[in-house]
Amino acid sequence: MSPKTIYDKIWDAHVAHEADDGTCLLYIDRHLVHEVTSPQAFEGLRTSGRKVRAPDKTIAVPDHNVPTTLDRANAATMTEDSRIQVEALDKNAKDFGLHYYPVSDVRQGVVHIVGPEQGWTLPGMTVVCGDSHTATHGAFGSLAHGIGTSEVEHVLATQTLIQKKSKNMKVEITGKLAPGVTAKDVTMAVIGLTGTAGGTGYVIEYCGSVIESLSMEGRMTVCNMAIEGGARAGLIAPDQTTYDYCNGRPHAPKGAAWEAALTYWKTLFTDEGAHFDKVLTIKGEDIAPLVTWGTSPEDVLAITDVVPDPASFEGGKVGAAQRSIDYMGLTVGQKLTDIEIDTVFIGSCTNGRIEDFRAAAAILKGKKIKDGMRAMVVPGSGLVRAQAEEEGIAQVFIDAGFEWRLAGCSMCLAMNPDQLKPGERCAATSNRNFEGRQGRGGRTHLVSPAMAAAAAITGRLTDVRDLM
């Protein structure tokens, strides 16, 4: 038998039917649902009189729209259209019999944080959600990717997707990370090298000693942004770190079932000599704390760098770089550490987990954010929030001057009231720095949680190593 990648193995284990032309029906083990991309899909089911085929494999949670302020139990904190979407999810979850975590449940949070936290996401599974950051779940050695609303309806109705296989890409991070460099910097470094289309048509396997040394939280951060490099899915082979994270989670198998699962999971690795269509290798030691300067996630530079000259790019990127510089209000040659910011956002499916908050709190402990700075921490789930409070981290944020919020997507995509105003500039731990992403005219610099904390203290983009 020819050697296989982990992606090949998971793919092969989920093909329910293959047509002569290679078009497959891929069986889906877990379907995560949120309020923004699902109402039209449920409406489609109703119109055609279809049911949800596997409600026991379907998990729903509202996250994109929900306010994260402490008064959110008061419905008046939501706009009417947001409230209608959340109420639609409440109703759809009930009518179709899905597992559901409503806003009032302490387990509610960002769908990609709730899934792993509750043990829904396990190695070797296929996981989909109407959200591009579904790639996050690849951290468990599962094949996880985003789908559109028509595909959401297709999975609801049939528990399968019509797919053709992607190509295999290996991204190896060798050596070790330097102090102050985190999983966020690793994933941004990869996008900086591949560009936002470098992974298009591929499933990425992240490997190497740096990846192996990361916690599950760090691995989720890495896989989360696979989509920013164009890959629908990124994944990491499961190992003891993965098993330890899964063991004891509410929906993880128990007893004999756990042992059987473990035996299977241990077969999920890339065989020696398996073929990759594309390979990228990065030395961990070469990665510095990074920031984005422009309006594409590929606009990545070391914090010690300066705003680039558009003329240094090629092709269509020359015009795009100039447009970015104009939009971002920057000057060519300006030191990145001279860029002043007025807002800090720590949270999102990229960096809204406990480890992210620990890293930020370690920088903030005993310090205050700059006068006039608007800084908020939005936990990825109610359980992350509770844990941070128990560990005393929440108090560190509050003492420093941060707002300590309830769980949700919040300012990552600014569908709820947390938005930038035109011209405001934010250091954000989220995943997209597109024009208008955090609010029309708002300017976003993507950074790690530790870098975001450093920026909150100094009021400008800052090399976190100077504060360590």
Binding site: R50, A54, A88, M125, T149, W258, G316
Partner: protein, 201 residues
Amino acid sequence: MEKFTSLSGIAAPMDLVNIDTDMIIPKQFLKTIKRSGLGVNLFDEMRYNLDGSEISDFVLNQPAYRDASILVAGDNFGCGSSREHAPWAIADFGIRCVISTSFADIFYNNCFKNGILPIVLPEDQRDALMKDAENGANARIEIDLETQTVTGAGGETYHFELDAFKKHCLMNGLDDIGLTMEKVTYIGTFEAATATSRPWV
């Protein structure tokens, strides 16, 4: 789904790389529970001032392109989120075909669910069509899906590739779910086998 067989129309040029789904349809318009009515907000922040008035130099606001049914765009069109609101907005505006050198995977798939044909061409051919499109309303582009060809205003014809199954569905306006339902016994068989081999799932 509306069938797509051929199209002859005005092409609007958008010579910008990495046009993302936040540009195509900003998040404030995702708060709908319907699929329709998003065309008026297509490219909203590029198309309108804060007071709602039109930004006159944006391509779709120019008289020559207000009725465009084709978009010729820079590399990596549709990157970003999985929001199907992006193709819904494009289709609702009246655009049935987007031509670029590359598309983000999820956006590309979403197009086919909504009767939109995304065409991938090499850079030089895309650039030639971009030049054609810049000539305004007189420069019509013709697309024939059966023969997989695009013909520019000057008569030059380019062949494009696409998956045979996707082509079949688009040409016949087929509903994916209906097609899959015909194979439901395979799904049942798979589920039964998994219940034994991976019972924890």
